[in-house]
Amino acid sequence: MADMTAYGAELPANRKRIRPGLILTWTVLLLGGLLMVTPLLYMFSTSLKSAGQVYDLRLIPLAPSFDNYIKVLSDGRFMRWFANSTLVATTVTLSNVFFDSLVGYTLAKFEFRGRYFIFLAILSTLMIPTEMLVIPWYLMSSQLGWLDSYWGIMFPGMMTAFGTFLMKQFFETVPDDFLEAARIDGLNEFEIWWKVAMPLVMPAISALAIFTFLGNWTAFFWPLIVTTSKELYTLPVGLSSFAVEQSIQWEMIMTGAALATIPTLVVFLVLQRFIVRGVMLAGLKG
């Protein structure tokens, strides 16, 4: 919104007259953008309608009420799935931020025999699709008793080649002088990484954190395979089972879908600039 006033004030003074083409472009873009969020608007709208009003396709409900939310949340399942997803996504994100950074830093800033080999080996795992690994992971999990556990959901994503590559790119831009100065001050190598290098790549860390969290929050395939008891479902898997069970009660399904969507939307509205920049960084460097 800050854009609006800033540009509004600036335009008459030192810019060219607004061309009619630009107004047309803007209008078409606005309509397209509204079309993009239509599914979200309808989802929220229907979640506020009663069963009888679902067939009424107007966007603003006649008698909006939160009854559906109370009904869906009352048996505690969604709360549990929400907590599961939060726990899983947070743990995996912290692990990625720590290990991907540590490995990226080591590959960027240390000189040792085999460095190139390690880098290529990690990078090559990008070519292996998750779908190929799920059968061995399932076997491994059943032998080690990891099926139907939080660790079972989390272990495949604890480190990623994407994150390692991203962090390596950024650590390469950190000047060696900074690290050398810290070395002279008597910090050990771990402290140099954690206290000196890490703060210098905060934009990359936030990009990695956003991507990892979002990826794990919305992950469906592996959690669907590894969990069997409803108490351990993540939000997407839980929602899917909930929706199947509700059959044609669309207002309840929309309420469940809204509950799964609200957290990421709220986070986005709060951190919009941050997230867009993070996605740009990760997309361009990764």
């Binding site: 630009l22 979200l40 396709l57 059968i135 899917s240 996605v279 361009l284």
Partner: protein, 312 residues
Amino acid sequence: MSNIPDIDAKGATRKGRTGFVLTQSGRKVIWAWSFLALPIVFYSWIRFYPTLSAFWISFTDWDLLRPATFVGIANYQKLFADPIFWKVFGNTFAYLIIGTPISLLLSFTIAYFLDRVTFMHSFLRALYFLPFLTTAAAMAWVWRWFYQPIPIGVINGILSNLHIPAQQFLRSPAQALPSIMVTGIWAGLGFQIIIFMAGLRAIPSTYYEAARIDGLGEWAILRKITLPLLKPTTVFLVVFSSIGFLRIFDQVYNMTSNDPGGPLNSTKPLVMMIYQTAFSSFDMGYAAAQTVVLFMILLAVSLGQLFVLRNR
């Protein structure tokens, strides 16, 4: 490992070899390997071993119950003789061949114009970006509802207001796959727009100024400057989007849960066939062979696209 030329070693390892523990470079090497110790275990155990294991399982008849026995290429023979596999193979490529060009064309056009608009720019950008942050499994249900017949479905409701006959959408073998693909395109568009905009911003404005001085029109600038300079971004997005469509699963699973991959297998992608073979039929050997095929397809597509776009 040792026969890889160690281009970075220079004096570092030489000193390390003679003075070992006390030299700074020697200590740094020890630090480096201790930092890498746990990740090496992780990548070996959770990435490389399972990869080899998947290849091995694909040559066995393992079904979780009886011990696996080696069956050679029987799973692959069975797969290539299976008409459902070829149906699924066609579906998987239909998602890719239709989905990728449409989504790239749309996202580039939107990014190109959005980049020039300053008034309420971040608001417009947010509208396009929001769907990227949603959960595919959740939004699949919203779209499924949209596609329902009258009087439930929103799209058919709008069509009937416009006096257009109602469409079958997910119930029709011809329309179901495109209907699901729209959901996939919608979900990925925001990311592609953001990346295209980042690419557009990275083109130095002096190029445009020079082109304008030379008297080039907007269209010529787009063709001769913007698109060629945007090639790395485009290559990245083509590969990223293709891989996404080849691995489509969440949407199909949730939009066809009453008849998975239906109607008549018309929407079933390879990943869904893998899921059903492995976790409904527990025919692990056969499923592993399917995952190997998926791996080969992904490998071929990413290498092929990089090659084609690099030589143009």
